[in-house]
Amino acid sequence: MRIAVLSGKGGTGKTLVSVNLAAVAKKSTYIDCDVEEPNGYLFLKPKKIQTEKISVKIPYVNESLCSGCRKCVEFCKFNALAYISNKVIVFDEVCHSCGGCSLLCPQKAITENEKVIGKVEKGINDNVSVFTGILNTGEASGIPIIKNLLNGDSNKKELTFIDCPPGSACIVMESIKDADYCILVAEPTLFGVHNLSMVYELVKLFNKPFGVVLNKCLDKENPAEKFCVERDIKILAKIPFDKELGDLNSSAKIAVKENNKYNSIFMSLLQDVIKEVKSYETTVNP
């Protein structure tokens, strides 16, 4: 069972929710797909870490074979190649590794080299297997890392929590593609509603079953809650804004392990989600 946790933006409590759900489950896998800013490992502190480097293919031009026809430069849609002073120059930060230039070069002057763009770390802590993707700074896209993370976890039966990257762009779509259920985390502000409405569009587009966790609830009016009620969206849980949780969270402690109150909030959230997934499965695949 794969559960993706997303929010229109960072900072809403995506990591809080996914880390605590993973910790409260008997046995689970936590996958941090927020490869630009992975934070989950700071909480789960995995041990016995195995590292795998992730690389992409970057063209390499053999100057002695190149005839200067510029077919490759004309082809590259990402402007990653230029022909400057009788030489083909590769700008690897913008190269999308499509492989087109090497396929099309009539002189077979272009081959491909591996370039490391980041890594995947796999470790374990108590009941949780922790997978973390880390994109090197200065690299444009973390999608190859996310693909590796999600394919590396073959055990589809086990409870898996996917901590998605913020936003609703392609990188998020990659992370939720195979999810059985999506949890949307929202803050009680106008910004929060706007961000929620975007991920809401996204899960609808992908036809995923989903529910909302309202985080940082104050006793005041909650625009995010209103949004859910008006659209008949399932509210899975309301997590209060309180100093204690804030303290635990900012010192990278796992709330369910420190405090019974949070343990029961997340335990019942977990049970609700599992129930939701099962009922969805029976209505879709009776």
């Binding site: 229109g8 809403t12 800013e37 087109g100 200065g138 896209s141 502000t189 996204l202």
Partner: protein
Amino acid sequence: MKQLLILSGKGGTGKTTVASAFIKLSNAKAYSDCDVDAPNLHLVMNQSSQAYNSDYYGLPKAQINNELCTKCDLCRQKCRFDAIAVKEDYTIDYFACEGCGVCEALCPVDAIKMKPAVAGELMLYKNGTVFSTAQLKMGSGTSGMLVTKVKNQMKEAIVYADLAIIDGSPGIGCPVIASITGVDMVLIVAEPSISGISDMERIINTAKKFNTKIALCINKFDTNLENTKKIEIYCNKFKLPFVGKIPFDKEAVNAINKGQSIVEIKCEAGKATKEVFEKTIKILDEEI
């Protein structure tokens, strides 16, 4: 015109809150929101006029003409983005296609053509001030290019302004790189949590590659004093100008929910932001 970019490594740290306060305080004549995935600035920067909207075309996407297709399978084998699927016919997964054009170039019977695709919308507000923003369509990948357009659209629309304030994109990937390119200074808004510090270090390392001025402030500093101290020590050690601390303030949440910036109401967070602003502008104006 000098350009000040506000970044935070991650969303939710108060980047937009700080940016909107800065715009009010400086009475900026030009500003833009480069968070094209999830733009928020327009929510606190009420505009009295209608926006000029224009479509943003990303790279064209592939389309297969199944009447011509001979099912040779070459395109599927060579597509590095797994965007081609075979059901009864060959189909393109619109979201996976990055528009590289390899399939079009390889197809022996010309069954594949690249067709223009709208990937988002650009909005430009012009009435005395220029506000440039955009919204990327769900699942369109090339946000870096749209960020560049947002900034260019702002620059082209300005008649005269001393200062432009840019609300940056979260993360460290291609949209952020596009937002940093060409600015005069980056202000990083950090959060005093272990995660916040890790994000901060990553964004500092990214920003350093661009040789712009960098300064740092802490938002919600009183939510964890120990981590706040750590950030200050970090700045000291790496000689990063530290421009101040903004407290957590429930009033700030209220202001934002009313669509106001925090310097328009009387509150502690607003007061502190004003000091941060003054120090930041001083650094921006210093000649080096």
